[in-house]
Amino acid sequence: MTAIEQEKRFLSSSLSIRLRPIAFIVALLVFWQIAVSRHPDQLLPGPLAVLRAIGELLQHGLLARYVVASLFRVTWGFALAAVLAIPLGLTIGWYRRSEMAFNPLVQIFRPISPLAWIPLAILWFGVGDFAAIFLIFVGCFFPLLLTAMSAVHNIPAVYVNIGRNFGLSTAQFIYRVLYPAVVPQLIIGARITMGIAWLVVVAAEMIAVNSGLGFLIIDARNAGNRYDLVIAGMVIIGTIGLLLDVAMRSLERVKSFRWSYSGD
């Protein structure tokens, strides 16, 4: 059974089965709360304290503001990286000679963590949104570039030959054969890169800006050891990360992209 079929099965199965993951999480939370109330040291605040902290953030209007700030930076950084990296990657992947030229450069820059760019980012852009967006851009650029290159390599030669056989112009070929053939892999790469972007934004915000969820965490600790806020921040980050992933997954379900995931 393919992954999509398994998923479909899960979604349409009875309510009790679908509730199981949630029940499991609730059980863990209860366990956590009990453990905390039995050992009231300050090593870890309990779920109720965290919930109260989230309520606090909501009350002061900070939750919405921080979430929007982080999402804003992620969106811009990711979009800029995608717009540059994907066409570039497709081109490099297609022309073998250009790949030989660019590959050493790519392989050198790739392992450099986006966080290593922080000092340069602050130097060039100062503390603020641009620095954060730049860091996310760097973090997204190479994964997307490599995904695009790999996607082009994986186009079966048959499709290329069919395109040539039917006398398509270059533009037609790109639009009607190349693009549909690479899209499924690009979506997978985009999903993974979105996860990376979300990781980077939190780290970037801890150092380079004054708002956002990463900032919330570091500020909560600095401004009075508010670990309940720290955990609240983590919970929110995790939740939004999950929602982003779900959104990207839903793209995979679009019928004309789905062909690549069925067992053909």
Binding site: N161, I162, N165, G167, Q172, P180, A181, S256, F257, W259
Partner: protein
């Protein structure tokens, strides 16, 4: 035709001279790996001969051309397009109505009614091959090259598909060059059968099949020709 791979030259085809007339059904048979597909790719313009030339109606072949469509053995349909989308693939220059008519005509001819909006992942192997042929025919090519198109199908489907192909060929007469390793298929379908030797392949012989269609597989003349063909390929007819 010489391939250079990993520094070694592999001569695949040598001394091939073949003339094909308009509307003929030619089968190319030969031992596995002898270069049948290479020959087809050369004819289709996907490869350039290292020596010699391929001319069609006096014109040299420079590259792939929509006037000569190649049907592949597997994975030849675009999985992101529906049946209609695939058939209409080469028809972008036609008007909407004309396109629709052509597609409908070939859906009908290849017996794919009801599946116009289906994606290839929901089609059987035989249907996918029918779809490929429909897409090829839709652009009205002069020549149809088929590279073991029924090779990946089961025995029964293969029989049915042969009948379909003959039916189409008799209805819309085009030149067909059909590569196969199946002797029976060659005798059932072809006007002439070109036998290739093993690598480096040359034309061993060309056998004319003079039985009119429909051909009976138990007729003496059929069996005679079949045996001749088996002999040419160097196989005994007793297992």
């Amino acid at each position: 035709m010489v391939f250079d791979r990993d520094g070694k030259s592999i001569a695949v085809l040598e001394d091939l001279n073949l003339d094909v007339s308009d509307g003929e059904f030619i089968c190319v048979v030969g031992p596995s790996g002898c270069g049948k597909s290479t020959l087809l790719n050369l004819m289709g313009g996907f490869l350039s001969p290292t020596r010699g030339a391929i001319t069609i109606d006096g014109e040299a072949v420079h590259g792939p051309d929509p006037r000569r469509i190649l049907v592949f053995q597997e994975r030849g349909v675009f999985p992101w397009l529906t049946v209609e989308g695939n058939i209409g693939f080469g028809l972008s220059r036609l008007s909407r109505t004309e396109r629709g008519q052509r597609i409908a005509h070939y859906v009908q001819m290849m017996r794919l009614q009801g599946f116009e909006h289906t994606y290839p992942s929901d089609l059987s192997g035989g249907m996918k091959q029918r779809l490929q042929v429909a897409r090829a025919l839709a652009v009205n090519p002069d020549i149809l090259y088929l590279d073991e198109p029924f090779g990946a199908l089961d025995s029964v489907t293969r029989h049915l598909m042969r009948g379909e192909l003959l039916r189409i060929w008799q209805a819309e007469r085009r030149t067909i060059i059909f590569v196969t390793h199946d002797i029976d298929e060659a005798v059932q379908l072809a006007d002439r059968v070109v036998v290739l030797s093993s690598r480096p392949a040359r034309i061993e012989d060309v056998l004319a099949i003079d039985i009119p269609h429909p051909r009976s597989m138990s007729a003496p003349r059929y069996l005679e020709l079949r045996d001749q063909l088996l002999n040419k390929i160097g196989l005994a007819y007793t297992v």
